[in-house]
Symmetry: C2
Subunit: 206 residues, 2 copies
Amino acid sequence: MDFSSKLLENAVYEMSQLPGIGKRTALRLVLHLLKQPEERTNLLSEALTDLRAKVNFCKSCHNISDTEICEICSNHKRDKSLVCVVEDIRDVMAIESTSQYNGLYHVLGGKISPMEGIGPQDLSIVSLVNRVKEGEVKELIFALSSTMEGDTTNFYIYKQLEGLDVTTSTIARGIAVGDELEYADEVTLGRSILNRIPFENSIKAS
Amino acid sequence: MDFSSKLLENAVYEMSQLPGIGKRTALRLVLHLLKQPEERTNLLSEALTDLRAKVNFCKSCHNISDTEICEICSNHKRDKSLVCVVEDIRDVMAIESTSQYNGLYHVLGGKISPMEGIGPQDLSIVSLVNRVKEGEVKELIFALSSTMEGDTTNFYIYKQLEGLDVTTSTIARGIAVGDELEYADEVTLGRSILNRIPFENSIKAS
Ligand SMILES: [Zn+2]
Ligand SMILES: [Zn+2]
């Protein structure tokens, strides 16, 4: 693309670094901002830099939080014996929106994926095992996506827990195998948490 | 959506104000930035605020420019007797990328559209007529999209030029009627500039 302005070219370039945003889409978004009051752009920029500069992850569950310990972990009404293991904070948001779950979470930050060079050490697995060792957690619910990587990750964690006094379960799948958790409808997802099955059973089933 | 962080919620909200970016996409983009080095976010924010604060439009053709008069208008090798009338700076970029055109441009900033409340006074039509009155321009090439609004705008400008010594033409359409200019392939678009026809002929044809 042939830009008549370095400022424009630079803005389009930076915008197109976002995933799924090509040069043409980036140009469309940037030109949209130019047509809006300057405040619009400033609010967007500030919101992003502010988040990036001040972002904090809960010391216990690794969820994004504005406080040291997130609202979920510090809520005395939640069942601290139950921990739902998820990939990503989007999964926490998806499960929270079902209002069907009253336990805590553990955000792994991804799945084991040799193809993408993501090993166990890149995920918050050690801190999960430590949470279990502290003794308060009685059950881990695996809620990773049901892909090869998800299954591998579940199994890896399961092996790390050997000898520890904790039950493991996986959420029931009312949704198609391979579907992403975050796109499931709330009813199905809520049901699948309630109908979770012992992890051992899920190994036999597959 | 249930956000665990006000900072996150705010960033997602501002991102989702962009056209075509829903809440889920906004969340995905924001979480991507969180996984990247902080510099990435700062470069994006700065590029956007910088552009918005310092953006300048060429005094002559209304193209985006970092200087008072854009590089195209101030290029002595370009044919100043030829002015191509376009909607938007994206059209300038599309035509420039064909390397088939050596004249100048005039960016209207849109099309006349009673449905969207855009009248002639919202577009840079007066300044176009003034450019013609100055006497150097011998031919205007209408390169608006061939929609009802595009045709209305062409005709409105054509009427404003009555009595002035200027030829009008429209770009030849090798591409389907109704297609957006900026998505045309470069060869077709370049050809359509070279094969432009007198505007009067295009009225008769339609
Ligand atoms: Zn927490
Ligand atoms: Zn110019």
